[in-house]
Each structure stands twice: as structure tokens, then as C-alpha cells.
């Protein structure tokens, strides 16, 4: 019987520090929740977190919690609870897992951080529909539950080129949040504070991009699967010095790896690009599946989503509006195609994996012929695997494995 090759994982040393920072972040939120010493805002992951921080809120990100539910494989048991209360199994499984977990009174935070027994209660919920409409419905559920204000920014979607009209519209919506946030926080809006937070966010974003760009080295010092873990601070701590400190540390380690030709995947034979969401409950399995074959899935659209190059502390509102609208997920397919072509070239990839996530159409870029068009344009082959970000009922491990192995065999034939 063919024995599976054991995968030797190369630990990223900075992880220890990241875990400390993440722990501090969650305990600070928990403390504020228990003592009501600080106001808490819930925010979408690519929403206007900078404004919230500048106004003194601590910020909780339900998508981060959703990913934790997925990664701990709690989500599949929580989703049916939300399904039974009228939230379809076809909609975002972050939403259904998160709401289901709340209804059941459980959170993965409890196991990771002893003493935390619930998500922090919000004083306000602020969403941005730049990713999808589901975030609005998701936050609306909690607004009703906690009886707190629900604020939102409605982003234009399917944009080819981001124009001044788009920027002006989003910037004015951001401005419109301020009086309401002042009333909820009890703090007067301070432009200098926003500039400071935005400058830190920009620095975080620049460093995060440099971290991800290290994957262009041959061999790559990092994998996509590493990226999904190490993006934590870019999601929940951007706008703080902590996130900047962390990515300086991580970047230095990865640069050392490059200097010493240390490969994240031993004997890197092929380099792949991942488009779409990770399957959170299968991160380890997928990482091992590829690594065992000497294949590094080293870059992704997903991890790049927390790069906000347009941030400019000299022009906070317009630059935030632009940065949060320039994102891949907001764009039309021709802009997305041009982006992936640049990624193929920059990261020198041999193939693309598209994850068609059943409950996340907005992050599944294989549904309108893009793989076929890109393959015709670039000659780079692709594979689409069916699955989901959080609902493991929609994942067939055997089919995934056969598809991936067959794709690698196809690359070997070249």
C-alpha cells in the first residue's frame, strides 16, 4: 500500500509573537465587554475600521470570528442552527456559522483564550458592502439582537475602473457616519487621530504586501496557507503600531529565509496561485496535500485583499474610499483578469487553483468563464475545486484529492 509521505513543516518563528498580539487583542476586547470601559464596534474586515479606531472604539471583526469557527471545524455544526431559523444553507457560511454559534452560545475564542466565554457585545455595527450583500444581513441580525445602531457603506460593485464618482460617493458615505459615531462613542471626531491611524494602516498594508511578495522568490519562503494565518494582524490590528511591529518581524524572518534559500515547501517543483477563499477546516490537509507533492501554493487573491495601497493620511476620506473600492472583489471581471495575469507573472506560477466556494459567489471567480479565458491568454493551466469556506458538508475530500493529484500529474507531463 502506498504510504503517504510525511510532511515536515517549517515553523515560522514569528508566529509566537503573532499569537501574543492576537491574544492581547482578544483579551482587551473581552475586558472592555465585561467592564464596559471602552466602546466596541463591530466592523466588516475590509470596512472603515480606521474611522472606528480613530474615534476610540475597540473593533471586533465577525469575519475573523467566522474564519475561526471554520478553522476549528466548529462551523459545520453551527450552520444548521442558523439554517433552521431561516438563513439558507446557500448563503454565506461565515454568516450562518457565526449566527448559529451565537444562538448556541459558543465561540472558538473560549478554547483559544481561557476566560473568554462570548464574543464582545457591540455598541454599534458598521458594514461595508464592498465584499457582498451578506454582511449587511449578517450585521442586521446582530443589530436586532443587541438593539444597537446599524450603520453601513454601500459600495458600487462590478467596477472596471475606479472613478472619481465612485470615490466621491463612498467618501461622502464615510463622512456621513461621523455624527452618528460621535454620538455613540461620546468622542468628538479628530482628523489628526484619523490621519495617525490611517498612516499606521498604510504602513501595515505596505509591510503585508512585502511579506506576500516574498513568495516571488524561488524557492518561496512562504505558502498561501501560512498567509491565511499570518494575515490575522492585517485584518484585526491594522491601524495600530502592533500590526506594524509584527510585519516588520515577519518580513525580516522571510528575508532571511530567502537569503538562505530556505523553501517553505521542500524541493519546490511547482508554484501555484490560489484564487478564492481558503477551506478553513481543511487548511492543514490542503497544505500537506500540496507539500507532499513538492508543490507550493504560494500566492492568492484572498491574502492580497488586505493590501490598501491607496491609503494616504494627507487625504484620509478620499483615499480610504478609493482603497476600499479598488479591491479585487469589488471589480469587474476584466479588471480581475488583468490582476490575475499580473500575479501569474510576478509570482512565476505554473498553474492556478480556483476554489468554487458554494456559499461565497463573490469570492468564487470561476463562474463566469474566467479560468477558460485566462488559460487561453496565458497558457497557464488551471483547476477548479468545489468546496466551501466553512460548510464542510459541501466539501468532498476524496474528489479534492483526486483533482489536485491529477492536476499535478498534468503539470508533470509538461
Amino acid at each position: 500500500m502506498a504510504e503517504e509521505k510525511k510532511v515536515v513543516r517549517k515553523k515560522i518563528e514569528a508566529t509566537v509573537q503573532m499569537n501574543r498580539y492576537m491574544s492581547d487583542y482578544f483579551y482587551e476586547l473581552n475586558e472592555a465587554d465585561k467592564t464596559r470601559s471602552r466602546k466596541i464596534a463591530w466592523c466588516t474586515s475590509v470596512g472603515p475600521a480606521e474611522i472606528l479606531r480613530a474615534m476610540g472604539f475597540l473593533v471586533h471583526f465577525p469575519e475573523n470570528h467566522g474564519a475561526m469557527l471554520g478553522a476549528t471545524r466548529m462551523s459545520t455544526d453551527m450552520i444548521p442552527i442558523a439554517n433552521a431559523s431561516g438563513y439558507s444553507p446557500e448563503i454565506c457560511s461565515y454568516l450562518t456559522a457565526d449566527v448559529g454559534a451565537y444562538m448556541k452560545g459558543v465561540t472558538p475564542l473560549s478554547k483559544a483564550y481561557p476566560g473568554i466565554d462570548r464574543v464582545p457585545r457591540p455598541d454599534v455595527l458598521v458594514y461595508n458592502t464592498n465584499q457582498c450583500r451578506d454582511v449587511q444581513d449578517w450585521f442586521a441580525w446582530y443589530a436586532a439582537e443587541f438593539k444597537v445602531p446599524l450603520l453601513g457603506i454601500h459600495t458600487h460593485r462590478g467596477i472596471k475602473d475606479v472613478g472619481e464618482a465612485h470615490v466621491a460617493s463612498i467618501a461622502s458615505q464615510m463622512h456621513a457616519l461621523i455624527p452618528q459615531l460621535e454620538a455613540i462613542s461620546g468622542n468628538k471626531f479628530d482628523m489628526d487621530k484619523l490621519r495617525h491611524v490611517l498612516a499606521l494602516s498604510k504602513e501595515c498594508s505596505t509591510l503585508w504586501k512585502k511579506v506576500l511578495d516574498t513568495a516571488s522568490a524561488k524557492p518561496s519562503p512562504i505558502t498561501f496557507f501560512d498567509g491565511t494565518i499570518h494575515m490575522g494582524p492585517a485584518v484585526v490590528l491594522r491601524g495600530t503600531q502592533t500590526a506594524v511591529d509584527y510585519y516588520n518581524l515577519l518580513l525580516a524572518e522571510l528575508k532571511t529565509r530567502i537569503q538562505n534559500k530556505v523553501a517553505a515547501v521542500e524541493g519546490e517543483r511547482f508554484r501555484l496561485y490560489w484564487d478564492g477563499m481558503p477551506m478553513w477546516g481543511r487548511l492543514r490537509d490542503h497544505s500537506d496535500l500540496f507539500a507532499r507533492a513538492g508543490v507550493n501554493v504560494l500566492a492568492s487573491t484572498y491574502c492580497n485583499s488586505w493590501i490598501f495601497s491607496a491609503f494616504d493620511s494627507e487625504d484620509p476620506f478620499n483615499s480610504m474610499a478609493r482603497a476600499y473600492t479598488e479591491l479585487f472583489i469589488v471589480r469587474a471581471d476584466d479588471a480581475k483578469e488583468a490582476y490575475i495575469r499580473r500575479m501569474i507573472e510576478f509570482f512565476k506560477v505554473d498553474g492556478i487553483i480556483y476554489h468554487d466556494a458554494k456559499t461565497c459567489p463573490n469570492n468564487s471567480n470561476c463562474r463566469y468563464g474566467m479560468p477558460q479565458r485566462l488559460e487561453a491568454l496565458t497558457g497557464v493551466p488551471s483547476l477548479t475545486i468545489n468546496g466551501d469556506l466553512n460548510d464542510l458538508r459541501l466539501v468532498s475530500d476524496e474528489q479534492t484529492k483526486t483533482n489536485v493529484e491529477a492536476f499535478i500529474e498534468q503539470l508533470e507531463e509538461k
Binding site: M1, A2, P381, N386, L394, S396, Q399, T402, E409, Q410
Partner: protein, 264 residues
């Protein structure tokens, strides 16, 4: 002496059936067998190998190299080496039809569409989603619902004069629809032909087809009429290898022959 020459074995441990092909050094099929995979892949593969070896007049000692493929490819001890069924079906089909081809393989539990270029190099492949629509499992379920032996489906479909078209690919929805058609007094042959048409429609939506189309798999091996229906639908002849259920095992045996110098 010819009988003492080494042979090469390809073992395709499918979800439904296990298939073995024994090749001699001239790449001729000298032994073949098909058995149910059941729940013990190891036992099924050994039984199947024994049957194929018996047919070839050789023993296990003559096997120079073996390669496994299929759903249970890593669950049997006969060989340390395996390849996916995608690669093996491609290799097996190209053996028969060395030209650019699109292979449609309809297996017990999954469908595959594989495209090969002029040199036999794989250009792309698609497998069905996590759903048994359009596979052998779909026909098995329907034959049970209709209380018709699986092997009778082909003959019944040929008798159809007025095919009943079914609206859904879904096995569960189709079963409900079939019951409704029976209540409406539709004839069984017309329903069975509709089931075949459902399989074809599901396959046709998976990918585009190139000029030369090859069909393989157990469903094709046992339902030649389905191939005729497909030919009518696409308006050209479809190539079917001599043993359509064995192309995966054949491909595995060919790979075994190519890799004969690597460790067993």
C-alpha cells in the same frame, strides 16, 4: 519462452468495480477481469488480479511491475505506485486513439471529461461536482426505483418510441419525477430513455467537446444505446475502445510498463 516473459498489471480500484488488465511486453492485453469493489478493496483487487492472471496464463511471479489507479488506488498493497484515474484513462484511451481527443468517462460514482492534444499530452480535465447526477450511481438508483435490473436498461431504452424528458439532473428529484411519470401512465422504455438522456445532458454541460470524442466507463460498456443517443445529439460518430470499462486499468498497466525500472 513466451510464457515466462514478464507482464505488466494495471489495477483500477473504482468506487463500484475493480478492473485489472495484464499487458505483455508488446502491449497486448493478455488478461483482464472486472469484479465488484465492495467494501474490501484489497480483497477485490487480489481476486480481480487472480482472474486476470488466470486468463493470461501467468502467475503473480511474472508481474514485472504493477500500478494502481482509481478511487481506492492507495488502499491496496499490490503496488506501491499509483496514478490518478484521470491520467490512466487518458493514457488508456490514447493507446487506442492516438490523436487529439475528448474523453467522456462515465463511471460508477463520477464523470470525467479529459482533453488530450496531438501528442497525448493532457490539456485539461473536469470531474463532476460533489453530486452523483449523470453517473452510474444515478442509473443504479433509478433502476432500483423502477424495480428493473440494471442490465435491462439498455434493452428497454432501445424500445422507446416516445422519450419522456426529465427536468432535473438530481437523483432525488428525478426519482420523484419518474414516479409522477409512472402515475401519468408513461411507458417504462420511454422513461428509461429519458434517464439516459438525463445522463447525456449532465455530461454535455460539464465541458465543451473537441472533434474526436471517446466514451468509456462502466455505464458505456453496459449501455451501448447511450452512445448511439450521444452520437445523435452531437451529430458525429463517437469512438469507443474495445473494452470501455478497462481503459483506466489499461492506462495503469501502460504506466507500469513505462516505469518498469523504478522501485516496485
Amino acid at each position: 519462452m513466451k510464457d515466462s516473459q514478464p507482464v505488466f498489471a494495471g489495477i483500477d480500484v473504482g468506487a463500484s468495480r475493480t478492473k485489472v488488465v495484464i499487458l505483455d511486453r508488446e502491449q497486448q492485453i493478455i488478461g483482464r477481469a472486472v469484479v465488484k469493489s465492495g467494501t474490501d478493496f484489497e480483497a477485490a483487487s487480489r481476486q480481480c488480479l487472480t482472474l486476470a492472471l488466470d486468463m493470461s496464463g501467468r502467475t503473480a511471479g511474472h508481474i514485472a511491475k504493477a500500478m494502481t489507479t482509481g478511487y481506492g488506488r492507495k488502499n491496496v498493497a499490490i503496488s506501491q505506485e499509483s496514478k490518478t484515474e484521470i491520467s490512466c484513462h487518458a493514457r488508456g484511451c490514447y493507446y487506442y486513439f492516438p490523436r487529439p481527443i475528448t474523453i467522456i468517462d462515465i463511471g460508477g460514482q463520477d464523470n470525467k471529461i479529459i482533453k488530450l492534444g496531438e501528442s497525448g499530452k493532457r490539456l485539461s480535465f473536469k470531474m463532476n461536482r460533489k453530486c452523483a447526477a449523470g453517473t452510474g450511481a444515478f442509473l443504479e438508483e433509478m433502476s432500483a426505483r423502477l424495480d428493473i435490473p440494471l442490465e435491462d436498461l439498455d434493452g428497454l431504452a432501445r424500445q422507446s418510441m416516445n422519450m419522456v424528458e426529465l427536468g432535473s439532473f438530481c437523483t432525488v428529484f428525478s426519482a420523484t419525477e419518474v414516479l409522477e411519470k409512472i402515475r401519468q401512465g408513461k411507458k417504462v422504455p420511454d422513461i428509461v430513455k429519458g434517464l439516459f438522456f438525463s445522463v447525456i445532458k449532465r455530461v454535455m454541460e460539464m465541458d465543451s467537446l473537441s472533434e474526436h470524442v471517446v466514451m468509456t466507463g462502466g455505464v458505456v460498456a453496459h449501455n451501448a444505446f447511450l452512445v448511439l443517443m450521444m452520437e445523435e445529439m452531437i451529430g458525429r460518430r463517437i469512438l469507443v475502445p474495445e473494452y470501455p470499462q478497462l481503459t483506466g486499468a489499461l492506462g495503469a498497466a501502460l504506466y507500469a510498463m513505462e516505469n518498469k525500472h523504478s522501485n516496485p
